[in-house]
Amino acid sequence: MSARRLTRSRARGAAVVAGAALLLTACSSGGGGGAEEEGDDDGPIRIGISLPLTGDFSEPGKGVQNGYEIWRDEINEAGGLLGRQVELVILDDQSNADRVVADYEALITQEEVDLIFGPFSSRLVLPSARVAEEYGMLFVEPAGAAEDIFAAGYRNLFYAAPAVADTHYDYLFDHLMSLPDGERPETASFASMDDPLAMGAANGLKAKLEEAGVEILVDEIYPPNTTDFSGIAAQLAEADADLLVGGTQYQDGVNMILAVRQLGYQPRMAAFTTAPTLPEFVEAIGADKVDGIMTPNGYSPAAEYEGNANFVEMVMEKEGREPTEDEANAYTVGQVVTAAVEAVGCAEQGDCQTELVDWLHENEVATIVGDLRWDEAGRPNGAHFIQQYVDGSPEIVLPEDQATAEFIAVKPEW
């Protein structure tokens, strides 16, 4: 992890300089960055990233880091970007909004990186997008699907995944409506973490179901860091809806499932966001208990998109398992930025960033999650797959033309 060590020593310089500057007026402009590398065509292209490596989002944060590193290794082996090697400068934001802003501030002004990549989780994307916007930096991000982000109207922001949160369950909804009367769920219960991504997906589905006449029995919102789910589970079990939807991150999803199982609630269908896409999920719930659990997933290892087979192979080699959604989205960011940089032919702060933004607004990019194109606010144009556990392993079940297994309409007991 040479990149990290480098960062630390520089950041130390920054803090010392900040101290010196406050205590002694003598210290003058230029700060700690110094007159190095800028505009230097032979040096490496330095890409600044802030990720939650500790704190609430550290689990998916590490997946994003892994995806970025796989992209870097691949591009460096192939001779680099514009013939220059790529170097990642990663800072840890501890899942804090104030840190993420300070990190990007430091990366752009102190480290003077050439490009930046987005952080993880909608909560952190929103404040960092403003920093990027105000410094005029291209901001391609792997994890901010929530509508609030696009509503802010940042022109330099692009979401490198197939679809925004509200539409994640669209294939599932269409499929449910196509079911015959007896099989179609008549009642549904929702419990969501108060997090833009988790709630966004659940609310998108809820609105459609309500419109279609499905009765919503429970609609609970709980704050992040809730650990006791017995109260929520009691209500879910009491309502006994056909369809249970959890707007979850990781651990809260596991806790909710265990809590409803303790109360003997057996919904006919169950869907959760994020948690079931992570490899730890099966172990936490038990391989014999996960069957039938659904989740929207923006990525399928089996999909025949640009470079996907190659990507799966690299992750298999490095980790001994298939890629996760977070790894894929991070890698997609790399693909999108690569396409723009190679088309425009530059990678540095200043006017180049505007050209990169303009290019992405006008062009389509082929990625491992499909061909992506964005609207003015950075919303991508695709749709999410629906993944379901079949015999203990995750399979794509919807849409049918991409499916790797048959949709299970009645979930086995958990």
Partner: protein
């Protein structure tokens, strides 16, 4: 402030006479200790004012704003902690309230950001007064518990009342100054913070020298004795509490306008309250510039630790150890310790605890404004 001191005067003739005896101080420039102090003050002012002109690196400027924010919060905290000795661990509540007040006023009423900035600290005071009425009925442990509880309540409310506060997602505050470059934006807010800090310091200084301030410090030294001497302790504490909430709320309001994104977990964080206590204690709660000095030291240390050990939770350990060291070995702070060196050559100041009530009423003693060692076994109440 005039109101407060007037009511105090009417009710506490004892305090008035004591304060009337302050003329005994030597003229400003003839006392070498004061001369050094004035010199340091001028140097500090120059450094603070010139700093933003020396750099265009956004990160350094934003660090400067963050440290000024700490300084304003810690100085605000010290209106309560320094004058009355009531240690609040929950002042993050008023910081968060100030920030949310600005955001909600702008968001819901479409008010101008500057008007919102002016109103927000007043909103905070209006909310703080009933809390103060409840909290100040009790002393010591119960008081601290109430202050912590209030932060936790506000965190719950901010997370739950989503229609008003945006829930866990928080709120976004539009930029007050449109069309500024980000570094210019930092510079503008840097100077606004400096102005707010100067205002807070002036008010603290004014209270420190007033009869009202005497009453507050009497509460700090011995509340029962103060009451017995006729200081309206409850009202005095409540007024100090309101000032404290006002300036902490002002810091929050400025922070909201500067930072732009409110996250309830950050705005209502107990850790933030702990930072304020640490900064004020480290610098010295009885000193005008104590919290400011503490904020500079602790603020730089926090920035350093997060940059150096960012991917671990080591900054928490460092904060904890520093707080423990200050509490155990230097509860009076750095400034009194340094002053103590000078004081060896000057006349000794004495604690109110070493003064009998009769002496106090006769006004034969100067005010206890320096390092006041606790008289061993001086007061029967404590154990």
């Amino acid at each position: 402030m005039r109101n407060a001191s007037e009511t105090t005067r009417a009710a506490a003739p004892a305090a008035e006479r004591t304060a009337g005896n302050r003329a005994a101080r030597p003229p400003l420039l003839r006392d070498p200790r004061r001369l050094v102090g004035v010199g340091l003050l001028v140097a500090l002012a120059v450094v603070v004012l010139v700093f933003p002109m020396t750099t265009s690196v956004g990160y350094l400027l934003s660090t400067g704003v963050v440290i000024l924010n700490y300084a304003l919060m810690a100085t605000g905290w010290n209106f309560m902690g320094g004058f009355t000795g009531y240690i609040s661990l929950g002042h993050a509540a008023y910081f968060g309230l100030g920030a949310y007040a600005v955001a909600i006023l702008i968001d819901r009423t479409g008010m101008s950001p500057f008007l919102a900035l002016a109103l927000a600290p007043l909103v905070v005071v209006v909310i703080a007064i009933p809390v103060g009425v409840a909290a100040l009925r009790v002393r010591g442990a119960s008081f601290v518990i109430v202050t912590i509880a209030f932060v936790l309540i506000l965190l719950l409310v901010a997370q739950s009342w989503a229609s008003l506060t945006g829930g866990s997602t928080g709120l976004m505050v539009p930029r007050a100054f449109q069309g500024l470059m980000r570094t210019e934006h930092h510079q503008v807010f840097y100077y606004i913070y400096v102005a707010a800090l100067v205002l807070a310091l002036l008010v603290w200084w004014r209270i420190d020298r007033s009869r009202f301030g005497m009453g507050l410090k009497a509460v700090r030294e011995d509340e029962d004795k103060a009451r017995a001497l006729g200081v309206p302790t409850f009202r005095a504490k409540l007024i100090a509490f309101a000032w404290s909430a006002f300036f902490t709320g002002l810091a929050g309001a400025l922070y909201a306008l500067w930072f732009g994104d409110l996250d309830p977990v950050f705005q209502f964080s107990i850790l933030m309250g702990a930072y304020m206590v640490l900064m004020a204690l480290l610098g010295g709660v009885r000193e005008l510039f104590g919290p400011l000095l503490g904020a500079i030291v602790v603020g730089l240390a926090i920035e350093f630790f997060k940059a150096e050990f960012g991917d671990t939770q080591f900054h928490l350990v460092a904060t904890g150890l520093l707080l423990a060291l200050v509490v155990l070995f230097m509860p009076e702070g750095v400034i009194p310790a340094v002053k103590g060196l000078f004081a060896r050559f000057g006349p000794q100041a004495s604690s109110i605890r070493e003064v009998s009530a009769q002496q106090l009423l006769d006004g034969t003693q100067d005010a206890p404004d320096d390092d006041a060692p606790v008289a061993p076994g001086g007061v029967g109440r404590v154990r």
